[in-house]
């Protein structure tokens, strides 16, 4: 009897707390971003300036963004960061809303090459803007300057038997097929025919035999580097990874390969399920401010679209990431590569 009463009272209190928290969450802007794109101090400044609370969820891979956004049909987040190659997929699946650029005062102040968004491949469709570029970097090669001599100029060094068991590669089928295609000299690494796919797959099986492990996050690569004999890292996180390694005293350098380095360009986009469009626009505009953009480059080493930075020099050949012909097939073939004994 007494127990039942207690149970009921607890249920009532629980329901009350539940309702209160869901009410509090309803007002917050829900942001999905990579680590480094929504640092706590910026979020705090943003909330102070606009009065809008922010909930940030960090992700670790392109596939995770897709799974989260597609899984909820865009209802779980208001704003998220995605690269130009991926964006078209979201537009096609009707998961993102067009953005009214006139609402973004800071977009008028960006670097000239990002000012005309129709000239940036992948961010527009049918004259509507879907993504606001804010950050970019190349996917180059990190090498240990003590172990790798002379300095490498091409990704082909990853296959060099001299570095057997000292190579860290990235666990992602799409990118691995693209960069290997570039290394093999194929013109369009994002659209491979059957024959080219087979050649790339064979080449990746060879690469696997030279590799110590496949990593997924920059932290993970760094930890492996510290505890093992690593000479070369395929640097999915580019400058961010170089900086972190140099900080712990590693003798490493970074190079964009001569055959062309894959490079990504990240954009802020507004999801289909956005609850408060004006708040989402304010967030994007805030991220495009000189202060935040500058600090983003300072902290991560990435290039930004607002201030000039040293990331990826003017002579480096960058190949902007694009949609690949068949992501599912690349993923399946990547599993086959990994399963090959």
């Amino acid at each position: 009897m007494g127990l039942k009463k207690l149970f009921l009272r607890m249920a009532t209190i629980g329901l009350g707390i539940g309702l209160m928290t869901s009410a509090a969450l309803a007002a917050n802007l829900r942001v999905l971003a990579w680590d480094g794109y929504a640092d706590a101090d910026w979020v705090k400044d943003f909330t102070a300036a606009t009065g809008i609370g922010v909930d940030v969820v960090f992700i670790g891979s392109d596939d995770e963004i897709w799974a989260k956004i597609k899984g909820s049909e865009g209802q779980d987040f208001d704003v998220f960061a995605v690269n130009t190659a991926q964006l078209q997929r979201y537009i096609k699946a009707d998961l993102v809303s067009p953005i009214d650029v006139t609402k973004l005062a800071n977009q008028k102040e960006v670097l000239p090459r990002f000012r005309d968004l129709t000239a940036v491949s992948g961010v527009t469709k049918d004259g509507k803007v879907y993504g606001i570029p804010f950050c970019f970097d190349s996917i180059g090669l990190i090498y240990d300057t003590d172990k790798v001599k002379p300095a490498p100029t091409s990704m082909s060094v990853l296959w060099d038997p001299a570095y057997k068991g000292k190579v860290l590669a990235y666990d992602n089928g799409e990118h691995n097929f693209s960069f290997t295609a570039l290394t093999l000299g194929y013109k369009d690494p994002f659209n491979l025919n059957e024959e080219q796919m087979a050649a790339v797959k064979a080449k990746l099986v060879e690469l696997k035999r030279n590799v110590l492990s496949f990593y997924t996050t920059a932290d993970e690569a760094q930890q492996i580097y510290q505890n093992n004999d690593v000479a070369l890292i395929w640097a999915n996180y580019g400058q961010q990874q170089v900086k972190a390694l140099q900080k712990i005293g590693a003798h490493v350098a970074y190079v964009n390969p001569s055959e062309g380095a894959l490079a990504w360009l990240d954009n802020w986009v507004i999801s289909k399920g956005v609850r408060d469009n004006a708040a989402a626009e304010k967030w994007i505009d805030f991220m495009l401010s000189k202060k935040v953009s500058g600090e983003l480059s300072e902290r991560t080493g990435f290039g930004n679209t607002v201030t000039e930075t040293g990331s990826a020099g003017g002579n480096d050949k960058l190949v902007w990431l694009n949609n690949v012909e068949d992501p599912l097939k690349r993923s399946d073939m990547w599993n086959e590569v990994k399963a090959t004994p």
């Binding site: 110590l212 505890n227 599912l328």
Partner: protein
């Protein structure tokens, strides 16, 4: 919600509600999701969207594609090995615990279970550092003169997964074995001694058979936990330690092929359920014969 309002009929309604809740929770949170999973395994994916038409394609692919069955089989062998090693290490530990008196017994048992309070990921990170080329294990082996130079035997291969899973799962083996050992009546052991049996004979003919139920449930526990793990193989498995869990995981993240992932999960679930049934069957038969 005034207290005066709780009259007799209200109370009866409340107990009915509690009963319904007791049945509803497992149905809603266990059976329904499992059924949805099973349903998904008959769908397919086209251009990144799920096609809701029934087909056996996923299962046909699982059995015919040369990639999946070998990895599935290797993973089962790996997890059986983990279970066996865990038992071999946990049995002496549990036996030692039961020989202790009073509070020492439980204090030590608690100490052995402390690792369960730590984050799984952090434990894997720590173990990976220990196993690495510049890690503690290699340094110790070189310092002791057992190895000439650091070896890559312990990290980024199947050995690493075996070692890591064993370390992580040993507490789950110790506990059931300890409980079954502790339940053996001391009088049986004393009677055996009175009748002139040696210590070894007593152990082989009384202690060991009576503790087998605990061993069986420990083995099925460890096997099930090991085979469901994708994180450990992902983090320490490197290039040669490719397990079924990693393939399964990739169907959800990378490939966005939920239907095929669901079909692979069904295959995994069948093995897991079989392991649990075998463990329980074996355990119960021995248990009731006492």
């Amino acid at each position: 919600m005034s207290e005066a309002g709780s009259t007799q009929p209200a109370e009866r309604r409340l107990s009915l509600l509690v009963t319904v809740l007791a049945f509803a929770l497992p149905v809603i949170f266990v059976l329904v999701p499992l059924a949805i999973f099973l349903g998904y395994s008959f769908f397919s994916v086209d251009q990144g969207t799920i096609v809701y038409g029934l087909s056996l394609g996923n299962y046909v692919r699982f059995f015919t594609d040369p990639v999946f069955l070998p990895v599935f089989w290797n993973t089962i062998v790996l997890c059986v090995s983990v279970a066996i090693i865990c038992i071999l290490l946990a049995y002496p530990a549990a036996y030692f615990l039961t020989t202790l008196k009073g509070r020492w017994r439980y204090a030590l048992l608690m100490l052995l279970l402390v690792p369960l309070l730590m984050s799984y990921v952090i434990k894997i990170y720590a173990i990976r550092s220990i196993l690495g080329l510049n890690g503690f294990l290699n340094k110790a082996l070189v310092a002791l003169g057992i190895l000439q130079e650091p070896s890559t035997l312990f990290v980024f291969n199947m050995n690493a997964i075996l070692l890591t899973l064993t370390l992580l799962l040993i507490p789950f083996a110790i506990l059931p074995i300890f409980l079954s050992l502790e339940r053996i009546p001391q009088v049986l052991l004393r009677a055996s001694d009175d009748l002139g049996a040696s210590g070894l004979q007593t152990f082989l003919r009384i202690t060991l058979p009576l503790s087998l139920p605990g061993v069986a449930s420990a083995a099925s526990f460890v096997f099930v936990l090991a085979i469901g793990d994708f994180l450990t193989p992902q983090m320490v498995g490197g290039i040669s330690g490719f397990t079924f869990g990693r393939i399964l995981y990739s169907q959800f993240g990378t490939a966005y092929n939920w239907p095929f992932g669901a079909a692979l999960s069904v295959a995994l679930a069948i093995v897991v359920i079989a392991a649990i049934l075998v463990g329980e069957r074996f355990g119960r038969n021995r248990g009731t014969s006492v």
